[in-house]
């Protein structure tokens, strides 16, 4: 014991710091968190801060004018085209969110309540398509819906139509269908988790108190699964508003979305400040809608209870 004490006295300054850290659980915790937080500061916070800065600058020929200005935001607000694009992007991703959640709910319900043994296999089956190349899944829909595509060639070889149907591809509907497919797992998993968490004795109680299957579903199961539904809605709505690949591949000129016009500012047009302002504007719009949606849903849930 005495040996250990003298050992302690001999330790260098660095070792003493190390010992102080070992003593303080929290300090050690922050030290372990710091590498990840440093990476996030550099790869997430700094770029987003720079994006905000850029949106207040101006492209002046080939030089960047860094006097703060609201010119980009004014340009976005005054141009009819941008407003249409914002509204269309939000309308498309709202529709995608609605369709995806509505299609996924019965599926998640089935796995949570009907499947008794091989739940793991079902979940794996439902997530595998989600993990295979996003680009190729979107491309697959172009192959299905295209002029010479799977649907048209099948219908023609069956003799049902004589000319390919042109309304299948290159429109907002094609974008909605493709995104509803691409984001299916984002809806199934959170809804499944919240259904799985429901205490089965509550359903038993509702049945004992005389609720039929439909009333039991509407008054017990559905309200209790709303957190999963809301989670799914947000996780789908946020990224689909900014989706680039799908509108580019299957959207056509009527299906152009906000991400396409942002990308153009970094490519052909080369107006980075305008691109930055469009990105900030779309993120802000999405955040406001998502928060308003969650608040509205919370109020609705409170009323049901």
């Amino acid at each position: 014991m005495a040996g250990a004490k003298s050992e302690l006295r001999k330790t260098s300054g660095l070792a003493r710091i190390r010992q102080a850290l070992r003593r303080s659980e929290a300090a050690r915790g922050y030290l372990l968190l710091s590498p990840a937080m440093a990476v996030l500061l550099f790869a997430l916070a700094a770029p987003i801060a720079l994006l905000v800065l850029y949106s207040f600058w101006k492209e002046n020929g080939l030089v960047l004018d860094t006097t703060p200005t609201l010119a980009q935001y004014a340009a976005i607000a005054s141009r009819e085209g941008y407003r249409t694009l914002f509204l269309r992007s939000i309308a498309i991703s709202s529709l995608v969110t609605l369709v995806t959640v509505a299609l996924a709910y019965p599926m998640a319900y089935f796995v949570a309540f009907r499947v008794t043994r091989a739940k793991f296999v079902w979940l794996l089956l439902l997530t595998i398509p989600f993990w295979t190349s996003y680009l190729l899944r979107v491309f697959a829909w172009k192959v299905i819906l295209g002029f010479d595509g799977v649907i048209n060639s099948t219908l023609i070889s069956l003799g049902l139509i004589s000319h390919p149907l042109e309304f299948l591809l290159y429109n907002p509907t094609a974008v909605v269908v493709t995104l509803a497919h691409a984001y299916a797992a984002f809806a199934i998993l959170p809804i499944y988790v919240s259904l799985e968490k429901i205490d089965r004795s509550l359903l038993e109680a509702a049945a004992d108190l005389g609720d039929g299957p439909l009333r039991r579903f509407l008054r017990v199961t559905l309200p209790l699964s709303l957190p999963g539904v809301l989670g799914a809605a947000v996780v789908i709505f946020v990224p689909t508003t900014g989706d680039y690949v799908t509108p580019t591949l299957v959207g056509g000129s009527d299906g152009v979305m906000i991400a396409n016009i942002i990308q153009v500012q970094f490519g052909r047009v080369n107006n980075w400040p305008l691109g930055a302002a469009l990105a900030i504007g779309s993120m802000a719009a999405v955040a406001v809608i998502a928060v308003a949606f969650i608040q509205a849903a919370r109020l609705a849930v409170a009323r049901i209870r």
Partner: protein
């Protein structure tokens, strides 16, 4: 003792017997729901399975009826040097991004699982990349990299990929850390092991399945990313950026289909493996779907 159990409602609705209360509604909508589930699976799988189907079709046009079986598109794919270079780049980026994000995720999850003042804030910060559209992160990183005068390269892609992979690594590892008993680590320390040895001999073996699952999942997130690489890769094309370029040329589509089918099979195998590994020993938490949502 020959009473029929179905006569008692509490037996019929016993919580541990899900089939019991489900069986009543089977008469109404149970079969319909099963049919729906199968149709939904078809909706998920048919588009994806068309790629391998047409990759073996002996025609440059993707249309029915199929014209004959061939493996020539696979031969053409294997001979394509640009594609091989892009594959090499993607593998490099994926390996680096998955390794870095898993190490960072390991440290973060360890701290968050044990609880720390402000833990909720850090957990939220670490999951933030999930809520920023890839296009926004892509252009923002492009601005940062160019304003620091760093040339666009695979390194800049790796930085972006670490950011988008981190939420997945943290989620997978957090569920693993929450599944094991802190007392094991305390016991090791009480028995005289140093912090480092405790990590190697107790913590590491216990979270190893989580680490493997995290490496595989983050690798796939990186492997699958198109947008961030599109803005940041410069001239070092990754595989999705290469595929994007090829999609413009109709005559190259069969090659892309062959490549897509190969990716499909490889990543399905990886995911099945990741799920299997992750579930080793955590059967106590069957409700965790395993991806960071």
């Amino acid at each position: 003792m020959l009473r029929r159990p179905a006569a008692s409602p509490s037996r019929r609705f016993a919580p541990q017997d899900e089939g019991g209360w489900a069986s009543r509604s089977t008469r109404h909508g149970g079969r319909g729901l099963a049919i729906y589930a199968v149709l939904y699976l078809a909706f998920l799988y048919v588009p994806v399975l068309l790629l391998p189907l047409f990759s073996f079709n002996d025609s440059a046009f993707i249309a029915f009826p199929l014209s004959g079986f061939t493996t020539k598109w696979y031969a053409a794919m294997a001979a394509d040097e640009d594609m091989r270079a892009a594959l090499g780049n993607t593998l490099k980026v994926g390996a680096a991004a998955s390794l870095i994000s898993t190490i960072l995720g390991l440290l973060t999850a360890k701290v968050l699982a044990r609880g720390i003042p402000g833990g909720a804030f850090f957990a939220g910060f670490a999951s933030l990349p999930l809520f920023i559209p890839d296009i926004v992160l892509g252009i923002a990183l492009l601005m940062l990299v160019t304003s620091l005068d760093i040339p666009l390269s695979l390194q800049s892609v790796i930085v972006g990929h670490v950011a988008i992979c981190l939420p997945f690594a943290v989620a997978v590892l957090l569920s693993r850390f929450e599944g094991f008993d802190v007392a094991l680590e305390e016991a090791s320390r009480d028995l005289g092991e140093t912090g480092w040895m405790t990590f190697w001999r107790v913590t590491f073996p216990l979270v190893l399945p989580g680490i493997v699952a995290s490496l595989l999942l983050t690798f796939i997130v990186s492997f699958d990313d198109f947008l961030i690489a599109f803005f940041l890769c410069g001239t070092d094309t990754t595989l999705p950026v290469y595929i994007w370029g090829e999609l413009r040329f109709p005559y190259k589509l069969p090659n892309v289909l062959a490549l897509g089918s190969t990716i499909l099979i490889a990543s399905s195998a990886l995911i099945a493996l990741a799920e299997w590994v992750r579930r080793q020993g955590v059967s106590g938490q069957p409700r965790d779907p395993g991806i960071g949502i």
